[in-house]
């Protein structure tokens, strides 16, 4: 290619990329505006916050303190953190184990078990919330005899509305236990494990590694991206959950931060928007941190592999 031609090409390329930068900057501003708005408003005083002015104020710590203590957001945050970490960890461990059995063990009925797990992708908790509510909220049987009478009687167990449940409506377990399994997790781990070359697996076995040694010395180090991707997806999913805690949690002591937001604006009194915006910022920070930390493994372990 001649010099002139190359230069012209470069020029066109340069012009084009300027336009792309302009377009991208505009779209990024539009996409990010609501959050930028929330951040700035969370720093303004009660008077400033009602004006359209978009300069940072000096009331940030006052607003944060009001939100954390007076609106009980500190308590909700603690609950959300406990629940999100517990469910995320549980989902990763359980789905890792299930996928391990499905890929590395020889046994019959594998396909059926896998289908049984994958079908639950079609059963979103929201659509079966009435049944789940009964199961989790109903009181347990008074004694083991009553319980056995119920569970061993198929017509009553299957064709009558749920009689006994876990009685968890004042307990974290109500928001933790039902979500410990993950079809998505099993699917992703199974896909990842199947893609490991047989030679690598064999050489580990020849060294005499049993299942546990194989898991801890070879499989976990090889699965870092998948684990990271799953941690990101599940943490954000659990942190952002709204409907189920809204329905099942009876007292503020156990409430999560997403529902807490609704409690702040539904007080009926005048809404202090600076404090409310501070609350949204607080509720948004943990998933953003997780997103920032795991972004790279998410792109490698999930987004880039899911289309293959």
């Amino acid at each position: 290619m001649s010099d002139v031609k190359l230069k012209r090409r470069k020029n066109i390329y340069y012009k084009e990329s300027v336009w792309i930068h302009v377009l991208l900057i505009i779209t990024v501003i539009i996409v990010c505006f609501p959050i930028l708005f929330a951040f700035i408003k969370s720093t303004q005083s009660t008077a400033e916050v009602l004006s359209p002015m978009m300069h940072p104020g000096t009331s940030f710590f006052h607003n944060i303190k009001r939100a954390l203590i007076d609106y009980k957001l500190g308590l909700y945050m603690k609950n959300s953190l406990i629940i999100s970490v517990a469910v995320t960890a549980g989902k990763i461990v359980l789905s890792f184990m299930a996928a391990f059995a499905l890929v590395f063990f020889k046994f019959r009925g594998k396909e059926i078990l896998f289908a049984f797990i994958i079908i639950t992708l079609m059963l979103p908790t929201e659509a079966l919330i009435l049944g789940l509510f009964d199961l989790v909220a109903n009181h347990p049987a008074q004694n083991i005899g009553d319980f056995l009478k119920w569970i061993l009687n198929p017509t009553e167990l299957l064709f009558q509305p749920i009689k006994y449940g876990f009685g968890w409506s004042q307990n974290y377990l109500a928001i933790i236990a039902p979500f410990m399994a993950s079809a998505t997790g099993v699917f992703l781990f199974r896909q990842h494990f199947s893609s490991i070359p047989r030679l690598m697996v064999d050489s580990a076995i020849i060294d005499g590694a049993g299942p546990l040694i194989f898991i801890f010395h070879i499989l976990i180090p090889m699965s870092k991206n998948t684990i990271g991707a799953l941690a990101l997806i599940q943490f954000i999913y659990v942190w952002n959950q709204y409907l189920w805690p809204r329905v099942i949690v009876r007292y503020d002591v156990n409430q999560v931060v997403q529902v807490g937001l609704n409690k702040i604006i539904a007080t009926g009194d005048a809404v202090y928007w600076g404090e409310v915006m501070a609350a949204t910022v607080i509720a948004l920070v943990p998933p953003l941190i997780v997103f920032g930390l795991l972004y790279n493994s998410f792109m490698k372990g999930y987004a880039l592999s899911s289309n293959k």
């Binding site: 046994f107 049944g131 409907l243």
Partner: protein, 312 residues
């Protein structure tokens, strides 16, 4: 497709159970059993507060479509489909466009990508709360600006049309990050040969987009179509609960039987856990939701099957 027994190197009777039983148990107890019992409950008249239960056969299902309770359900069914379709029709083209921009090999591409994807971490409740303030009729920034520029103050949350627009807008915005992630991933997997060939043939950017890029993105579009539909059905609940509480009531005629932003999910919540607590009726509505999700999943899986077949 890989053979699923390729890596099966261990044998071990009861040890297998140790690995797989926890997942199976949780799924049976907390998904299959409640799903089944949502169906059972839909044949009963059941009140949460009184604790009463009575078998009434198909009456709850009949009431969904015939009688005094039916118009509100049919309206919310219509509104749910309307909302979900608009989330798809508006959200997916914007996402493709943004993903293509962010996929260009320019300086700072990684930063742009992160800035466009992060709304993935956003919750419906947070999105709803921020929009509630931005569009507050008295003190929101939008109306303050509109008032000073044109002396108008639209009642965003009281006017049916504006409320619907606002919910769609907020829902699309909240889901942009999710869609862009998948489109970006798909774009990075597109082979460069067909695009180079098109360059040699002198095809313009529009022809390249419609004739090459878009068809190659179609599996992703198909996947996102269904995830966005189910987002519209279920996850918009938090947004709606905070932003509009399902209201306002629509214009007289067909749309005045329930709030105009009431989705089926919101109606299940109101009917089952609200003041009237008609849990059996709410369960019947939930069964309709389950059937619709089943239909979505059927299309998704059958499409997946075809794709695998085409690719050999």
């Amino acid at each position: 497709m890989s053979n699923n027994n390729e890596n099966a190197v261990f044998t071990g009777g009861w040890k297998i159970l140790l690995f797989i039983l926890p997942t199976i148990l949780i799924l049976v107890v907390f998904l299959y059993f409640p799903a089944w019992h949502s169906i059972v409950l839909s044949f009963f008249r059941s009140n949460l507060f009184l604790g009463t239960r009575k078998f009434i056969g198909f009456e709850n299902f009949r009431n969904l479509f015939i009688g005094p309770l039916a118009p509100a359900f049919i309206q919310s069914l219509f509104q749910t489909i309307f909302l979900s379709l608009f989330i798809v029709i508006i959200g997916l083209p914007i996402s493709v466009f943004l993903a293509i921009l962010a996929n260009k090999k320019i300086r700072g591409a990684k930063v742009y990508r992160m800035l466009l994807i992060w709304p993935f971490a956003l919750s419906p409740a947070v999105a709803g709360t921020i929009f509630l303030f931005i569009f507050n009729p008295e003190v929101g920034i939008i109306n303050t600006l509109l008032d000073s520029l044109f002396s108008i103050k639209p009642r965003w949350l009281d006017s049916p049309i504006l409320a619907v627009i606002l919910v769609i807008f907020a829902a699309v915005w909240k889901n942009l990050g999710y869609n862009i992630v998948f489109y970006l991933a798909a774009l990075q997997n597109i082979p460069s040969e067909p695009l180079e060939a098109a360059d040699i043939d002198g095809a313009g950017p529009f022809r390249k987009f419609f004739n090459i890029v878009l068809p190659l993105l179609s599996p992703t579009t198909f996947f996102l179509l269904f995830t966005n539909l189910s987002y519209g059905f279920f996850e918009t609940f938090g947004l709606i609960d905070i932003l509009t509480s399902g209201g306002p009531v629509g214009p007289p005629g067909f749309l005045d039987h329930s709030g105009i932003t009431t989705t089926i999910m919101y109606k299940v919540f109101e009917d089952g856990f609200g003041g009237s607590s008609n849990m059996g009726f709410a369960a019947a509505e939930g069964v309709i939701l389950l059937i619709m999700v089943g239909i979505f999943a059927y299309f998704q899986f059958s499409h997946l099957g075809k794709r695998v077949h085409y690719q050999g």
